[in-house]
């Protein structure tokens, strides 16, 4: 299982979207911390150097939770988007193990990003001189609670990704030779599009090219034939 989780983490590391998401989360948290710090001294806000301010600033890292959930979603949906499920399942034929690894990896990613965001929030607070980090039960609770929260949202995102994608896939099959909705043409040498082909492109309707009978549905066209007929 550790090997599987490692593979999932590597996949995330080697996806540019991950880094874009992480950068977005950092910006979001920085903005929130900025707003809190700017409000210091106004009525009803926590005072400079107070425990309340420390908690508020660290708590601002929670605004990155949406991004953590999105990362969790990506852990699963990326496989559909770039059609890498086949190779993933060939390497690990047990679906339950693959999904478990994905949930764990998404949770772990949540914790890692959570730590990063806490550091960013605390760093900004300290650098701008208004936050003192003194160890207290409340602080510890906030940090631990925040990380559990981040782990939860990461896994939850992965779960959502699995659910939504399964539904989408049921409606929209991306397999080559397969239309966006049933019927499926089992022919694999032609790309099928639901749009009618451009004039003059010598189109052939699926009916003509499909070697086996298929059910009628939305109009399908064989947009190109690769290989020999």
């Amino acid at each position: 299982m550790t090997a599987l989780v490692r593979a999932e983490l590597l996949k995330l590391c080697w996806t540019r979207a991950t880094w874009a998401f992480a950068a977005a989360a950092v910006l979001l948290v920085a903005l929130r911390v900025g707003l809190i710090l700017a409000g210091v001294g106004t009525i009803g806000s926590a005072g400079r150097g107070s425990v309340d301010l420390t908690l508020a600033v660290l708590g601002a890292s929670g605004s990155g939770v949406l991004v953590i959930a999105l990362l969790g979603v990506v852990v699963v949906t990326r496989e559909f988007h770039s059609a890498t499920w086949t190779s993933t399942l060939l390497v690990t034929p047990n679906r339950a193990r693959v999904l478990t690894a994905k949930f764990l990896a998404a949770g772990l990613t949540g914790v890692i990003v959570g730590i990063l965001l806490l550091l960013v929030a605390a760093g900004l607070g300290v650098v701008f001189g208004q936050v003192r980090l003194t160890m207290s039960t409340a602080l510890l609770q906030m940090v631990v609670g925040g990380l559990v929260y981040a782990a939860f949202w990461g896994s939850f995102g992965a779960a959502i990704g699995a659910l939504i994608r399964n539904q989408t896939v049921a409606l929209w099959c991306r397999r080559p030779g397969c239309c966006w909705s049933r019927p499926c043409c089992p022919r694999t040498d032609c790309t099928v599009s639901s749009r009618s082909p451009r004039p003059g492109s010598a189109p052939r309707s699926l009916e003509e090219t499909c070697p086996v009978p298929f059910q009628h549905g939305p109009r399908c066209w064989c947009s190109s034939v690769t290989g020999s007929p």
């Binding site: 890498t84 034929p93 070697p211």
Partner: protein, 299 residues
């Protein structure tokens, strides 16, 4: 025990029966061609064998167990299937490393297989920019990671240039000679005829025939072609000996179901001049077309 054994595999997609009660075996140490026209159910069969698609009925076994029961499948079966996606932003090396990690394959294997498929120079490039031929090679590299005794390849020659096809044929032959088992699907027979030991031919999801290449070619015919200025005389002489023959052109006779020895004796007995005599057998492609040509009409 057969390396791969398919027993009664059936797959129903709605009203379509893609594969129907298909059974065949692939012997250890052979290159077996899995042939059939487009849409015959080759890919579906391979996907069922590899546990990617649920079979409606029947089982596919590799080394006696179903693929899904394999703990580290890369060490038993290497598979390269058509339409396997690549993350376009990942480099070739990273793609393989991701495949290697779950099976606990050491990283140095990644560079070894890249070398084997001649992609070392492109190892650090993003897969998104790869040509179809390079993707095929990368897919093959992925299948080789665990150095498995069995390879299952779906249309591996698609997108390869002639040199690539030649290389692949040599590569597979070499692997089989060293005891490996290879099941390779193709709709282009000429590519396989030279390297396969056995073939499994399916059509419309049903088994048409299975056997060795020699067997298959032998079953569908061989003949002796004779070029002679006295074609009509030879034709008469052969007919007199009860050998079925035909005048294919004014100076050529084709004698069927005989050996060159028999024809030679007939020629000598009749005292004829012969310019050329050649024993010909049908090649795999002809045999294949012959076997699959009937009932072209759709049900």
């Amino acid at each position: 025990m057969a390396a791969i054994s398919v027993r009664g595999l059936t797959k129903q997609f709605g009203a379509i029966t893609a594969v129907k009660d298909l059974s065949f075996e692939v012997e250890e140490g052979t290159v077996t061609g899995f042939l059939g026209p487009n849409g015959a159910g080759k890919t579906t069969t391979l996907r069922m064998l590899l546990g990617l698609v649920h079979a409606t009925a029947g089982t596919g076994l590799v080394e006696g167990v179903t693929y899904r029961r394999l703990d580290r499948p890369a060490f038993t079966v290497g598979a390269a299937l058509e339409a396997t996606g690549f993350h376009p932003g990942r480099t070739a090396r990273n793609h393989l490393r991701i495949l290697a990690v779950p099976n606990r394959i050491p990283v140095h294997r990644v560079d070894e297989v890249l070398e084997q498929v001649d992609l070392t120079d492109a190892a650090g490039r993003r897969v998104g920019g790869f040509s179809l031929g390079m993707r095929q090679r990368l897919m093959l590299a992925g299948a080789l990671l665990g150095d498995p005794p069995i390879l299952v390849l779906d249309e591996p020659t698609n997108g390869l240039d002639p040199a690539g096809v030649h290389w692949l044929r040599r590569f597979l032959r070499d692997r089989a000679d060293r005891g490996g088992t290879i099941l390779v699907s193709s709709h282009l027979l000429a590519e396989l005829a030279m390297s396969a030991d056995a073939v499994v031919i399916i059509k419309n999801g049903r088994l048409v025939t299975e056997g060795t290449v020699a067997d298959l070619v032998g079953r569908t015919g061989s003949w002796v072609r004779v070029r002679t200025p006295q074609a009509a005389e030879l034709h008469r002489a052969l007919t007199a000996r009860g050998i079925p023959s035909e005048l294919s052109s004014p100076d050529e006779v084709i004698a069927r179901e005989v050996t060159t020895q028999q024809v030679g004796e007939a020629v000598a007995a009749a005292g004829l001049v012969v310019h050329e005599m050649k024993a010909e057998t049908q090649n795999l492609e002809d045999a294949f077309l012959e076997l699959t040509k009937e009932e072209v009409s759709r049900p």
